[in-house]
């Protein structure tokens, strides 16, 4: 039992956790349980990043997705009185009909990629991936980074305008 085997075992555990919680997100009925499964999915994702050595990505996954974003979902979902809204029991049939061929094609594409493609290989041992990522973001990828920040700013101003009370 070498280091590779241990890595493999950890990956299988985390992967199972991820897949089970993703399935839960789709199939569970109560919206609160859905959001809990979704949270679990995000945590599993962060754990996989951590296991792969992408520490900064794991930290950001936790702090941005698992906390900042999901907390707003939770706030909205918990404050809506679900008893008063029409309960929907089954599975969305027409949506499933439309989505399944697309999903099948996507699955085929991804299987092709996995079977024929090459896996990304680590270029070299990265000592401090926080620093390296920061340098990359502010040098080679400065323009897309700034564009993303402006898009977010526009979205924020839009949200403030929409949420503003009429005087």
């Amino acid at each position: 039992m070498g280091e590779d085997r241990v890595e493999w075992i950890i990956f299988v555990i985390l992967g199972t956790w991820l897949i089970l919680s993703a399935l839960g997100t789709v199939f569970v009925k109560s919206p609160i349980h859905v959001i809990l499964f979704f949270l679990s999915t995000l945590l599993a994702m962060a754990a996989i990043f951590l296991a792969l050595g992408a520490e900064l990505l794991a930290g950001i996954q936790l702090i941005i997705y698992a906390v900042a974003i999901v907390v707003f979902y939770v706030l909205v979902i918990t404050t809506i009185p679900w008893e008063k809204i029409k309960r929907f029991g089954g599975i969305y049939k027409s949506e499933l009909m439309i989505a399944s061929p697309i999903l099948f094609i996507l699955f085929l594409l991804m299987s092709y990629m996995v079977v024929k493609g090459k896996f990304a290989q680590p270029v070299g041992f990265v000592k401090d991936n926080v620093k390296d990522l920061g340098e990359e973001l502010f040098t080679s990828y400065l323009f897309p980074f700034e564009v993303a920040s402006i898009i977010l700013l526009v979205a924020m101003i839009g949200a403030i305008l929409l949420g503003r009370k009429e005087e």
């Binding site: 280091e3 609160i32 809990l36 949270l39 900064l56 702090i63 698992a66 900042a68 907390v71 918990t78």
Partner: protein, 336 residues
């Protein structure tokens, strides 16, 4: 393979030590808090069980554990139970990134008294600190009680606001130290010979505010507000299930956040060697305890803010100050 087994074993031992100490100290802080509150309010505090009432936490634990389990009608049972776990786990996990002392050699093996020395330790600490908000929100929601739910919504608003300020307030320290790692930050302070509170007093005050807000301590304890909400989000929990929430939020969280404050601003285990090889641990624990003491002292001295004031202070006053602090620090670090 051998080294892997060893490191697993070491980690397990470290986890056990930290876990048991944290829960034990957390339980005894209840005694300490009641004693302190008693003396602040000119009374004696617990005196009956054992000398100085020292056995009071054990008596409380037995009382809580033997109480009848009552679950409110219409409560969502799985979420109701899960909420306890969601409140406890992040607070305890926070302790994983705290370095209690410098590394040392035993039988040619380098041992660090920290469970997880990752280079995103601080990010992880803040992520876990805010993950504990789910325990509060879901416990309030699952109880099917309006008092509990209002309490949990207030807590959510507070955590969202103060998490942002917290992130910005410590950026100054990170700029000075050049790393996210808790061990690295302490080593940077020892190397410079100056604790970061000297360079970053504003950041420390902001951090203190955020620490009080995140751990639901006075003056930011509106989610508990006994007078209006009858202690808020945990009102529908009974017995040991009730005991878990204050343990997580008021004690373990306060210990962990104080320890992180010591790492960030007070030089971690740095201090004169008065106890030989044990002095780093002594200094770390002493500094952490001083901050915990300060928090409890405030708790029994100050009145509480209104709900709307708390979030307004965070967004309109603290956040601009924090951002200004980061910009000034960045410019100064860049120039020198």
């Amino acid at each position: 393979m051998e080294s892997l087994l060893y490191s697993l074993l070491f980690t397990l031992v470290k986890v056990l030590i930290v876990f048991l100490t944290a829960l034990g100290v957390g339980a005894y802080l209840t005694w300490f808090e009641r004693k302190l509150a008693g003396h602040i309010q000119n009374r004696l505090g617990p005196t009956v069980v054992g000398p100085f009432g020292l056995l009071q936490p054990i008596a409380d634990a037995i009382k809580l554990a033997t109480k009848e389990t009552v679950i409110p009608r219409g409560a969502d049972k799985p979420v109701y139970y899960m909420a306890i776990i969601m409140a406890l786990v992040p607070s305890i996990l926070l302790l994983a990134v705290i370095p209690w002392g410098p590394g040392f050699m035993v039988n040619g093996k380098y041992i660090e008294p920290i469970i997880a020395d990752v280079n995103i330790a601080l990010l992880l600490a803040f992520a876990l600190g805010s993950l504990s908000v789910y325990g509060t929100i879901f416990s309030g929601w699952a109880s099917n009680s309006k008092y509990a739910f209002i309490g949990s919504l207030r807590k959510a608003a507070v955590v969202i606001a103060y998490e942002v300020v917290l992130g910005f307030s410590v950026l100054g320290v990170i700029l000075l130290a050049g790393t996210f790692s808790t061990v690295g930050i302490v080593e940077a302070q020892i190397q410079k010979g100056v604790w970061f509170i000297v360079y970053q007093p504003v950041a420390f005050i902001l951090y203190l505010y955020c620490m009080l807000a995140e751990s639901g301590r006075v003056p930011f304890d509106i989610q508990e507000a006994e007078a209006e909400l009858v202690t808020g989000y945990n009102v529908e929990y009974g017995g040991m299930k009730f005991g878990a929430f204050p343990l997580a939020e008021w004690y373990v969280n306060v210990i962990a956040l104080s320890a992180i404050a010591v790492v960030l601003f007070f030089g971690g285990w740095d201090g004169p060697k008065i106890l030989g090889p044990l002095s780093p641990y002594f200094w770390f624990v002493a500094k952490t305890f001083a901050l915990v003491f300060f928090t409890i002292w405030l708790h029994w001295t100050l009145p509480r803010f209104q709900a709307k004031d708390i979030t307004e202070i965070a967004w309109k006053i603290l956040l601009p100050i924090a951002i200004l602090n980061v910009i000034i620090t960045a410019v100064v670090v860049y120039i020198f």
